[in-house]
Amino acid sequence: MDVTFLVKTFFVALSGVPIALLITIVSLLIALPSGFLLALSRINRIPVISQLARVYVSFVRGTPIIVQIFIIFTSVPLLLAPIFEKYHVKTSIYDINPIWYAFIVFSLNTTAILIEVFRSAISTVSKGQLEAAYSVGLNNVQAFRRILIPQILVVALPNICTATVNLIKATSLGYALSLREITLKAQVAANVGYNFIEAYIDIFLVYLLLCSLVETLFKLYEKRLRKYKTAAA
């Protein structure tokens, strides 16, 4: 075990955190609302949208992220390049920062996961809550924002937390896009001297740190939201 390497690489890996977080946050910002809305569309069996949502969920949830990354990364330029050329679009398709691909793939994935998370959580809230909200003159949006979502979140939060932690870990697949995040940085550092054991320990520590921080935030938020429930106990 090479301790100096271990320590040095820890900070190298740590410097990959911002990009991992950036992908995570952007994906969540997109996936939370769209996952929620699509979940509603499935519960209410809105025609077309709910069927599309199902197909979408089954594909995105069913196939490995790395494969999705690969397919998008390989075929999008192949498909777009001729189009760009034809219409004389100036920017080269190959100059697009690969982080955009990451945003797309990870938001699509997280959305699919969250649709299911919300679907289960929404079903636990009693119908009477919505009716009561209507009856005091709240509209749909107000009723959801003020009454239903806080109750739904209590049930959904632990699973959103799991999804977020998984997302953070999955951003390591960004290596396929040459994104310089945690895992890739550590592995590059390890390659010179084949210090992979140390690198894995560093990766482990960084993710553990990052994810437990995120988990703690979720737990705190859950506690706050549950106030009304624990009051009864």
């Binding site: 009693s126 009716e131 009561a132 209507y134 005091v136 003159g137 509209n139 107000q142 806080p150 939201l225």
Partner: protein, 251 residues
């Protein structure tokens, strides 16, 4: 001010409402009586669009709507003028008692928060819950929950309040108090449509009593008429079993 024409509503193959007409004028206090399962709750729910009727029209002030095909906007407009007291309370479980009452004011009606809190406090005081402002519904007894439901409706100061058995979970002492509250707001001119089993309320406060059975209005009349001289056999039958002998003589 509220006119309902020919409401029909089925659940699956069961037709629950079979063409109900209803007319309520400003200041009216209308009581609906009827056996369990006769469709009273369903009628109120259709008026408030909590259930979509299969057929029927409503005229609410200057808003004319088809109950089956009303738009979201129309529904929202109408709901803004109606308050509802649920048979099973339906308090917001994630809000305190006071928040339950002020929610509709602050968010739905845009009343400033301080004012809403004041209104909320007043209406909670009216139902005798001034000391439970910060409890959560799960910490309340059944009767307390029902009173919060009533306070929530009253606080909105709506054009019309629909009450679905507002005193069922109350002890008789409170029934008296709540009925007094209801009488007072009735006197203030609030229009009310009340499903209740409190004959004395019907007798004392209502200016019209409707007897429903099997999804239709069997009979409709002033309380005096309906209690002393019910025309239909079904009504007679129901009232005979429900009302103490001496009740009618007291009218």
């Amino acid at each position: 001010m509220l006119e309902i024409k020919n409401i029909h509503k089925s659940f699956g193959k069961n037709e629950i409402l079979k063409g109900v007409d209803l007319q309520i004028d400003r200041g009216d206090v209308v009581v609906i009586l009827g056996p369990s399962g006769s469709g009273k709750t369903t009628l109120l729910r259709c008026i408030n669009f909590l259930e979509r009727a299969d057929q029927g029209k409503a005229i609410f002030g200057d808003i004319h709507v088809n109950l089956k095909s009303a738009t979201k906007k129309q529904i929202h407009q109408i709901r803004q003028k109606i308050a509802f007291v649920f048979q099973n309370y339906n308090l917001f479980t994630n809000k305190t008692v006071l928040e339950n009452v002020t929610e509709g004011l602050i968010i739905g009606r845009k009343v400033p928060k301080a004012e809403a809190n004041e209104l909320g406090r007043q209406s909670l005081a009216k139902v005798g819950l001034a000391d439970k402002l910060n409890s959560y519904p799960s910490e309340l007894s059944g009767g307390q929950q029902q009173r919060v439901g009533i306070a929530r409706a009253i606080a909105l100061n709506p054009d019309i309040i629909l009450f679905d058995e507002p005193t069922s979970a109350l002890d008789p002492e409170l029934v008296g108090e709540v009925l007094t509250v209801m009488k007072n707001i009735a006197k203030e001119g609030t229009t009310m449509l009340v499903v209740t089993h409190e004959m004395s309320f019907a007798k004392d406060v209502a200016n019209r009593v409707i007897f429903m059975d099997g999804g239709v209005i069997v009979e409709e009349n002033s309380p005096k008429e309906i209690f002393s001289r019910p025309k239909e056999e079904r009504t007679q039958h129901f009232l005979r079993r429900v009302i103490p002998e001496d009740f009618i003589y007291n009218i």
